[in-house]
């Protein structure tokens, strides 16, 4: 049942504010009581990762990391969620690393495979934008340089 993981699309569907609030209050209640169950922590962190607000996502990933540290038996699962969280945050590099580690363990994991391709796509897209920007900058620079040279040579 370890392959029971949500697809990346699921992470884009955010919970309602009330639902997240319920998870948050449950988490905070358990924190105050001194013992946080893994499930509660995960519920809250997963709710946060699903949120569209970046700060929430960051907090969610942080909680996932805590689970990862403290619960060795949950690490396999957490790998995927961490990858997904980083993916949502836009840290494609880290997302790729976590996903790669998971793929290493479970090469046939459908969710991991699909997440992998998604990451690649995103990275490529950003790369193109970046390249375009860099290219544009280079062109502008070249033009400026050319004008400067021309001016200099005209004198």
């Amino acid at each position: 049942m370890t392959t029971e993981l949500p697809y990346a699309a699921d992470a884009e569907v955010s919970l309602s504010y009330d639902e997240l609030e319920v998870l948050r209050s449950q988490y905070e209640r358990e924190v105050a009581a001194g013992h946080v169950t893994v499930q509660t922590k995960f519920n809250y962190s997963w709710g946060l990762v699903k949120s569209p607000i970046r700060d929430d996502q960051v907090e969610g990933v942080r909680l996932l990391q805590e689970i990862y540290r403290s619960e060795p038996t949950r690490r396999r699962e957490c790998l995927y969620y961490l990858a997904l969280g980083h993916y949502k945050m836009g840290n494609y590099e880290d997302a790729r690393k976590f996903n790669a580690l998971l793929m290493d363990k479970e090469p046939t994991n459908m969710q991991a495979l699909s997440l992998g391709t998604l990451i690649d796509k995103k990275v490529a897209r950003e790369g193109y934008i970046g390249m375009a920007l860099a290219g544009g900058a280079a062109a502008v620079g070249a033009i400026l340089l050319a004008t400067v040279i021309r001016r200099a040579s005209r004198k």
């Binding site: 049942m1 370890t2 319920v22 499930q39 995960f42 990862y68 060795p72 970046g130």
Partner: protein
């Protein structure tokens, strides 16, 4: 005024004042008025100031600019505030980190190359939390990822999530709502229905059945409105159809809705199962954690106990040092007033309270629990031993040997022998230079250990504290006998005994005769001595006069039990009780299989003040009042002869041939604790922290009273069972059936 830097403002004011010295002061007077108030009289004032302030300000502006340039050029000279600002604004560290990591995989190089400028251009804020997360990546990736086990392999986090989020309850609340809406509409009719339930239309019956099943399945806490009273059927034959309808079950849902509800309920059930699994797992986890914490607590408690022990040890040490201090002070006083110094005067001290007065400094470095010295010379099992202090003088006696030997514990050599007894010596007590021995011949002898054999040699080895006394012996030796009333109050009585000793030759100072059979035990403090003998009596002696002060008959005590309700004391050792003949019991075999006939009717005595405690062959521990000579309490419990005992403020400890040590509570008279051993207990000594016992085995048993743990000293120990032992502080001497005497560091 504009905004000049803070530091300049007062100066400006000063200037301002100087510029307009004749300006009228405001009514409130003095400097309190603002500069504008003081300058209000002059028309061009403010503008002038603007000019001035601008003039002052301008270099600052310029300097700020230059600062910025500088900081950009060389980050080193940036002020901390600037550094902070830069750190929060720029994403430089992250960028660097990313570039570093990206070089690992060639495929990504392209992308990151492009992305870097995008990042800096984009307005996304990078918080410290982001950085924290990114930095943790490497560490997390390095961590081992084990196969999931336990609940982790059964219930995935997502499954748990779906089962526990609030929306998981949606289905149930929806169903309830559907039913309740109906009820709400016909609330008035509901009452009617309750009174008129019973009549069923066929289809309704069917639906009701289904609904009831579902209710049962879902284990839903049925709301009041959902109650279907089964027993109510047929109660009233003439129910109305309307009434049935008002019950929630009566509503028509349609097949589709019902199948949907069924699947929903099944899902709910599944969720319930998941939740249960999760909670069970948590419980198991917590149990585990509690166990771990318990272990930690036990360990910490142990540490605490150790600290307590250390503290007790320090207390003891402090007490010892103080005692020594008092002793030395008394000595110096004595030195100044020579006439007042008694011959053998030593500050009396209980053997239980002995400080580490003469502990050679190396002793603490010795490994604890190891016998570091073996004294060989005896040829028969050791029967009695005692020593004056650590590294002081030791006297030992063995079976069928009428001459106890005197040893120097510093060198481990035999100094000499105590000649005088006829028959073997059964008990010895040494206090400083005084030694008392009791023998099979029924006599007690008092010895001056300084006169043993070669006197000069002995004095050369003498203890520091007594040097002054020793030196004075020559002129002050003929001290008068001091008559003292019977009791323990006297302190200088020994001067009398010793004084008379000087007239005799040989170390034996005095002979106490009176017992008709072997003296098996003795105990003295100051000038009061109590002996116990196989003639079944205890005798109290005044050491200053050598007279027997009182005789206490144990047989009489046995036949006249004083404790109310204890006339038929159970558990008395049967063989010996009230036997008028000679007492003889075979000892239970030692660890090596040997045994012998035990004939000491009185195993041990000890007193403090007027309270005397004796342990005897009938297994009873008796407490006597030495003013009346009566027993006032008998502690019954041992099933064999008592061989040894000791008491302090709280407890009496007695060892017996019945293989136990019993710790008695002095206040209640009950057994506080029983320590069981495999063989007969022949000797014991205890303090607040431990009980040291010889229990018929080669090893010496130590019971730690604070940690309740037993340990055995074997290293370099006896090769046959230990018979007697005695310790002070961390220095112990034991005598065994292998005829050797071992000296231990504890």
């Amino acid at each position: 005024m504009a905004n000049p830097p803070e530091g300049l403002r007062p100066k400006d004011r000063e200037k301002d004042k100087k510029k307009h010295p004749r300006a009228p002061l405001p009514p409130d007077g003095g400097m309190a008025g603002s500069s504008s108030a003081s300058t209000s009289g002059q028309g061009g004032g403010p503008s002038k100031f603007e000019v001035v302030s601008r003039a002052i300000m301008s270099p600052f502006h310029r300097r700020n600019d230059s600062n910025k340039i500088l900081s950009e050029l060389a980050p080193v000279i940036m002020t901390p505030r600037m550094m902070n600002a830069a750190a929060t604004v720029s994403s430089r560290p992250q960028e660097r980190l990313r570039n570093e990591t990206s070089t690992n995989s060639r495929a990504v190089d392209f992308a990151t190359l492009g992305r870097a400028p995008l990042r800096t251009l984009g307005s996304r804020r990078i918080t410290s939390r982001d950085l924290q997360i990114v930095e943790a990546t490497e560490e997390l990736l390095d961590a081992d990822v084990p196969e999931p086990e336990g609940v982790a392999s059964n219930v995935s986090l997502l499954r748990g999530f779906n089962a526990t989020i609030p929306s998981a309850e949606k289905g149930r609340s929806r169903r309830r709502q559907i039913r309740n809406v109906d009820v709400g509409e016909k609330l008035g009719l509901k009452q009617l229905g309750m009174s008129a339930r019973g009549l069923m239309v066929d289809e309704e019956e069917e639906e009701r059945q289904l609904e009831r099943e579902r209710e049962h399945e879902a284990q839903s806490v049925a709301s009041e409105d959902d109650v279907v009273v089964v027993g109510g059927r047929g109660k009233k034959g003439k129910g109305k159809k309307k009434g049935r309808e008002s019950l929630s079950a009566g509503k028509m849902f349609g097949k589709e809705e019902l199948t949907r509800q069924t699947s929903e309920i099944l899902l709910d059930k599944e969720n319930l199962h998941v939740k249960r699994a999760l909670i069970e797992n948590e419980i198991a986890e917590i149990t585990h954690k509690i166990e771990t914490l318990d272990k930690i607590r036990a360990k910490l408690e142990n540490d605490l106990l150790k600290l307590q022990e250390d503290e007790l040890e320090l207390d003891d040490e402090l007490e010892g040092v103080k005692e020594q201090l008092a002793a030395e002070r008394a000595n110096t006083v004595g030195h100044h007033h020579k006439t007042a110094t008694p011959l053998l005067h030593i500050v009396p001290s209980s053997r239980r309270r002995k400080g580490p007065a003469f502990l050679p400094s190396e002793h603490d470095d010795l490994p604890p629990g190891v016998a570091f010295m073996t004294l060989e010379g005896h040829i028969t099992p050791i029967t009695a031993l005692d020593f004056s202090e650590p590294y002081g003088t030791l006297v030992t006696a063995s079976q069928e040997d009428s001459q106890p030997r005197v040893w120097d514990l510093l060198t481990g050599e035999e100094i000499g022998r105590l000649r005088g007894h006829h028959g073997s010596v059964k008990c010895i007590q040494v206090e400083d230079q005084i030694c008392l021995t009791g023998g099979e011949d029924g006599n007690v002898r008092i010895w001056d250990l300084r006169k043993v054999d070669d006197e000069d040699d002995w004095e050369g080895e003498g203890e520091v504290v007594n040097l002054s006394d020793v030196a004075e012996e020559g002129d002050e030796g003929e001290g008068e006998m001091v008559e003292r009333p019977n009791g323990v109050g006297g302190k200088s009585i020994r001067s009398g005994t010793a004084g008379s000793a000087t007239e005799k030759s040989g170390p034996c100072v005095r002979l106490l005769e009176g017992h008709t059979k072997a003296v098996s035990t003795l105990y003295f403090e100051d000038d009061c001595l109590v002996t116990g003998a196989s003639d079944k009596t205890l005798r109290q002696w005044d050491l200053s006069t050598g007279q027997c002060v009182m005789t206490m008959d144990i047989l009489w005590a046995i036949s006249h039990p004083t404790s109310p309700g204890s006339s038929t004391l159970p558990g008395y050792f049967p063989g010996a009780a009230a036997a008028a003949g000679s007492f003889a019991v075979p000892t239970p075999p030692y660890a090596d299989g040997s045994w012998e006939m035990y004939q000491d009717f009185v195993g041990a005595v000890q007193f403090w003040g007027y309270a005397l405690v004796s342990g005897s062959g009938d297994g009873a521990v008796r407490m006597w009042d030495m003013r009346t000579g009566q027993t006032h309490r008998t502690l019954a419990g041992h099933t064999g002869p008592v061989t040894c005992l000791q008491f302090d403020e709280m407890h009496v400890m007695s060892g017996s041939l019945d293989k136990t040590i019993r710790i008695w509570d002095l206040r209640s008279g009950g057994i506080f604790e029983t320590l069981k051993y495999d063989h007969a207990v022949t000797s014991l000594q205890f303090d607040t922290r431990k009980v040291v016992a010889a229990t018929g085995e080669n090893g010496i048993k130590i019971y730690n009273r604070t940690t309740m743990q037993n340990s055995t000293l074997l290293t370099n120990g006896h090769t046959r069972p230990v018979e007697k032992l005695r310790y002070m502080d961390r220095f112990m001497v034991s005598g065994g059936r292998d005829a050797t005497v071992k000296v231990w560091a504890l």
